[in-house]
């Protein structure tokens, strides 16, 4: 392709990635009665469906019988979501079904009756099955519902204050009852409300009062770790109408359909974060993605970056990426280019924002991109389902999407000013709370590369382990470490022996429970500090000490840390007069490699779950405890022995 061709904008370039035929295909399946049976293909269909078509797709998907769908896709996780709110909230179910299906998740929605959100929030715990999260959809009527004509800005202020106080106490009740994650939203202010005040000063006052209410709602997220507040303003700012007067008037559906669709996209990413499916790695193409032009043809001095209008747009895009990287997103490159030219451009180009050291791997070569993505995943020790891939080439995007369906593909087009919007259109990297581990992640992976070099230098794996100088510390986490402990349970998929996802309040609850221990695992070696890499959940049950769950970051596998942890627990059990240690392996789609872990550590299988023969219970009688591996130093503190052994 010549440069001139490369730079000719084509208005249809995104349309070509988004396939308008996807909805027709889905409809054909539905009409033929085959949509449930073919549910396995739905995710791929939705991945390239134009965003505007998703509500229509969701409408059909939501009508399928969930049990029938589950028979056809038994591995797809089902997300249980009660939906409550101020007004008619059922219209969110269709879009949410589609948005979750894009992530391979099935929705089991329970829609509350009109206007019942306060009762729903304050209902005592334990009355219903534990839900993954609850959506509480608020709108302008939440503030205006009790107003009588005539009203002034002061009346709205009073109403807003009273309503905020009511909602705050309902949210507190919901959180104190331990009913899990709650999703609220800010409420839009409509023009047909503001302009009922003709006094411009009062109208401004109304605007200020309204923002105070929304600000109060947003503050609930700071107050309660189990509350997320979706700000609708940025969604409306994208050009989405906030409401539709006839739907509001006649059906009391007070948020517009497109706004609910945008909200559903945000909600789906909250669900992803809750299920530990936050993406961790962003793999970028170079030519046309990070800069304009073709490096191989134009040379490092000739690429579009920095100078010129488009050059500035590419710089801006690189800044956005750097912003993501500063929050723990790992960056890598997969580019069809000569490695030396890429290295030179990244090192020497004066306008380059992202430098060589910002990337954990730069794969510049002529191999297929899906092979490069596999290679990067293997070297990072991460699954491809934690990858996002961005490229301007329709061909490369299509091929990666086809070869690696678990990778999220972001197609940027030939207008660099639109690159940031395309990358951020989905909240692929959304998480609940940044932890120190996120901020230090890139450094850790670079240290890991030095470890790998050392490993290649020594003769044997044992010599490598002996030379590492590994130090493992087990102790209860302090307050500041609870977020990281929660995150480990949320994000660890492989070495996660009972896969129990806990938010921060749930972790705190376990720590406070008598006879229950939460033990954080820290590791460091001569190359650096791994930080908090694992967690054990223990519980006294009479004379038995139970390991309810054990999760360890994949960064530190196969160094004896997992064995050291078990050795420490066994010794602790013996020292505190327990008769045995019981443990369990509960299978998940990703932890099969560790099904035999406890057996390898000297435990005896004692039974399986009648409902799930792959779930195995183990027992160790403490007679013969293998010592921790000799190549590491182990420090273990379990806190006070407050177990009730009577």
């Amino acid at each position: 392709m010549t440069q001139a061709q490369h730079r000719i904008p084509s208005p249809d370039s995104t349309a070509a990635w988004h396939d308008r035929a996807s909805l027709a295909t889905l409809r054909d399946l539905y009409r033929a009665g085959k949509l449930a049976a073919e549910y396995g293909s739905v995710r791929a269909l939705l991945s390239r469906m134009p965003r505007a078509d998703l509500p229509a797709a969701g409408q059909l998907l939501a009508r399928l019988d969930l049990e029938e769908v589950r028979r056809h896709v038994p591995d797809a996780p089902v997300v249980s979501v009660p939906v409550t709110g101020e007004s008619t909230v059922a219209p969110v179910v269709g879009p949410l079904t589609a948005e979750l299906a894009r992530h391979g998740l099935l929705l089991d929605a329970k829609v509350a009756p009109y206007g019942s959100y306060l009762q729903d929030l304050m209902r005592p715990a334990g009355t219903a099955q534990d839900a993954d999260l609850m959506l509480c959809v608020l709108d302008a009527h939440t503030v205006l519902g009790d107003l009588t004509v005539p009203w002034r800005a002061e009346d709205v202020e009073d109403a807003a204050r009273a309503r905020l106080a009511l909602i705050s106490s309902a949210v507190r009740a919901h959180q104190q009852a331990g009913r899990g994650l709650l999703v609220l939203n800010t409420v839009p202010l409509h023009r047909h409300v503001t302009h009922q005040l003709v006094d411009l000063r009062c109208r401004a006052r109304l605007g200020a009062v309204w923002r105070e209410f929304n600000s109060g709602l947003l503050s609930l997220a700071a107050e309660h770790p189990g509350v997320v507040v979706v700000d609708l303003d940025p969604l409306i700012g994208e050009g989405v109408p906030a409401g539709e007067p006839r739907a509001a008037q006649y059906a009391r559906a007070r948020l517009s359909e497109p706004l609910l669709a945008a909200y559903a996209r945000e909600a789906a990413h909250i669900v992803r974060a809750r299920l530990g499916r936050t993406r961790k790695v962003l793999v970028l193409d170079l030519d046309g993605t990070l800069w304009g032009g073709v490096l191989g043809e134009d040379g490092p001095g000739g690429i579009e970056l920095g100078a010129g209008l488009r050059g500035e747009a590419f710089v801006e895009f690189q800044r956005v990426i750097r912003q993501l990287a500063s929050q723990g997103v790992l960056l890598a490159v997969s580019s069809k280019n000569d490695a030396d030219a890429v290295s030179q451009a990244l090192r020497t180009h004066p306008a380059m924002v992202l430098r060589e050291h910002d990337f954990v791997h730069v794969n510049a070569n002529w191999k297929a991109k899906h092979d490069n993505l596999r290679d990067i995943a293997e070297r990072l020790g991460l699954g491809l389902d934690s990858f996002v891939f961005a490229d301007d080439s329709l061909f490369e995007c299509g091929l990666v999407g086809e070869q690696l369906p678990e990778v999220a593909v972001v197609r940027v087009d030939d207008e660099p000013a639109l690159h940031p919007g395309a990358l951020l259109a989905d909240g692929w990297f959304d998480l609940f709370e940044l932890t120190e581990a996120d901020l230090e992640r890139a450094d850790r992976y670079r240290t890991e590369a030095r470890r790998q070099e050392f490993r290649e230098d020594v003769d044997s794996y044992q010599a490598y382990l002996d030379g590492l100088g590994l130090e493992v510390t087990l102790r209860p986490p302090d307050e500041s470490e609870l977020a990281r402990v929660s995150q480990l349970t949320l994000r660890t998929n492989q070495f996660h022996l009972a896969t129990e996802r806990l938010d921060v309040p749930q972790v705190a609850d376990r720590m406070a429970h008598p006879g229950s221990y939460v033990i954080a695992v820290h590791a460091r070696d001569r190359f650096g500090d791994h930080g908090l890499v694992g967690v054990l959940f223990l519980r006294r049950d009479g004379e038995v000490l139970r390991i309810d769950n054990f999760a360890l970051s994949c960064r530190v596998f196969a160094r004896g840390i997992e064995s050291a942890c078990v050795a420490a627990v066994l010794e602790f059990a013996r020292d505190t007069m327990a008769k045995a240690v019981a443990s369990r392996y509960l299978p998940s789609p990703r932890n099969a490699a560790f099904a035999a872990f406890y057996a390898d550590q000297g435990f005896t299988p004692v039974g399986t779950d009648p409902d799930d023969p792959d779930a195995v219970f183990f027992r160790h009688d403490l007679r013969d405890i293998a010592p921790a591996p000799a190549h590491l130093r182990l420090h273990a503190t379990f806190g006070p022995d407050d177990g009730d052994r009577t």
Binding site: R27, Y30, R31, P55, A56, Q59, L60, A62, R63, T88, A90, P91, G94, R246, A247, Y250, A251, A253, E257
Partner: protein, 79 residues
């Protein structure tokens, strides 16, 4: 009126493709109460879809008061 929805067959196709609601021709005269899946949420969706197809406004309040799908078809085509 555009021809896109002129006939009841087109209307039934639209109900099926957009709302996932399959109807035979004779179902058009049955009372809406016979269709437990039918609700105001589907009706709102129908308004959006039909207005997109015909490119104009349909009287929502009238639509909310119809008793059968045939009457619904008449409301959306009788403009």
């Amino acid at each position: 009126m555009t021809t896109a929805l002129a006939g009841t067959a087109e209307f039934r196709t639209l109900l099926e493709e957009e709302l996932g609601l399959y109807l035979e021709e004779e179902d058009l005269d049955r009372p809406l109460d016979d269709f437990p899946d039918w609700d105001s949420v589907l009706l709102l969706r129908l308004v959006t879809v039909v207005e997109g197809v015909v490119g104009g406004r349909i009287p929502v309040a009238d639509l909310l008061q119809v008793r059968t799908f045939r009457q619904m078809h008449q409301v959306v085509t009788d403009r």
